[in-house]
Symmetry: C2
Subunit: 156 residues, 2 copies
């Protein structure tokens, strides 16, 4: 009762217990699954990112989109090239400033984005199947809060 060493010195939580580690590793696994599923639609995650940005009303010039997405402008060119090729976006020169290319989702693009959304929803169900409804919602909500703080698009 007045032991010199009442309890063994509980070793500190390991790296694997940190939110950073768990979020990073699980995010990578989940992104790999999403990437694989997207392949059936001929898309990569960044294509989806561009469509999401357009859909959520981001300024539609390529350079502004690059800033929004935090990627290089040259990458937006490649992403837009592909999305235009499959008819998912329109790309028109801004008549007011003919240097600018203004991107816009087409009907096809919106349908494609809806397909991606359905796909994500299906993966969500698989991923969170073992969680209770309230746990799942708490997770979604907390991730949303942290996402907003990190400047990520987080509609709801």
């Amino acid at each position: 009762m007045n032991d010199v060493n009442p309890r063994p010195p509980a070793d500190p939580p390991p790296l694997t217990a940190s939110v950073v580690f768990r979020l990073g590793t699980l995010g990578s696994v989940v992104t790999a699954r999403f990437t694989e599923a997207l392949a059936a639609l001929g898309l990569k995650p960044k294509h989806v990112g561009l469509m999401v940005a357009l859909d959520s009303g981001a300024p539609p010039s390529q350079l502004e989109l690059a800033r929004t997405m935090a990627v290089a402008p040259s990458l937006v060119v490649a992403l837009a090239d592909h999305l235009q090729q499959i008819g998912a976006v329109d790309r028109v020169r801004d008549p007011a400033d003919r240097r600018r290319q203004v991107l816009a989702l087409t009907g096809t693009g919106r349908a494609l984005l809806a397909d991606c959304t359905a796909l994500a929803r299906r993966l969500d169900e698989e991923l969170t199947a073992s969680l209770g409804a309230s746990e799942r919602e708490a997770l979604r909500r907390t991730l949303g809060v942290l996402g907003v703080e990190a400047g990520l698009p987080t509609g709801d």
Copy 2:
């Protein structure tokens, strides 16, 4: 009260509301931060992954480590080369089967891993500063559950 359209057709939750999207994007942001912080220690995330695997008692041959980490054996060679160079791991031929290289964390390696852990803890605090203690724990725990299901190392 018997309206034809009692409520506007609530449009379905957007892609950005999915756990898959939020986990993927936030994971990527968090990993970027961790990567940046690790640079001060001369490490990349995969080096940490290898140390974590060794620390948690994974079978220590390079090929088995490659399987554990789900990376190519050639990558383990490069990671082990670097960790050995900085004195973080010992690499000895298994006398029972001289084809095998057996890796083991050194004292230096354990200290380095502790530094990485401290670093993750600091990032955790920054990341989750806006969350209440119970929210933060719920997040950590739920991520742990999903991580275990995905086969990730998740000590606690």
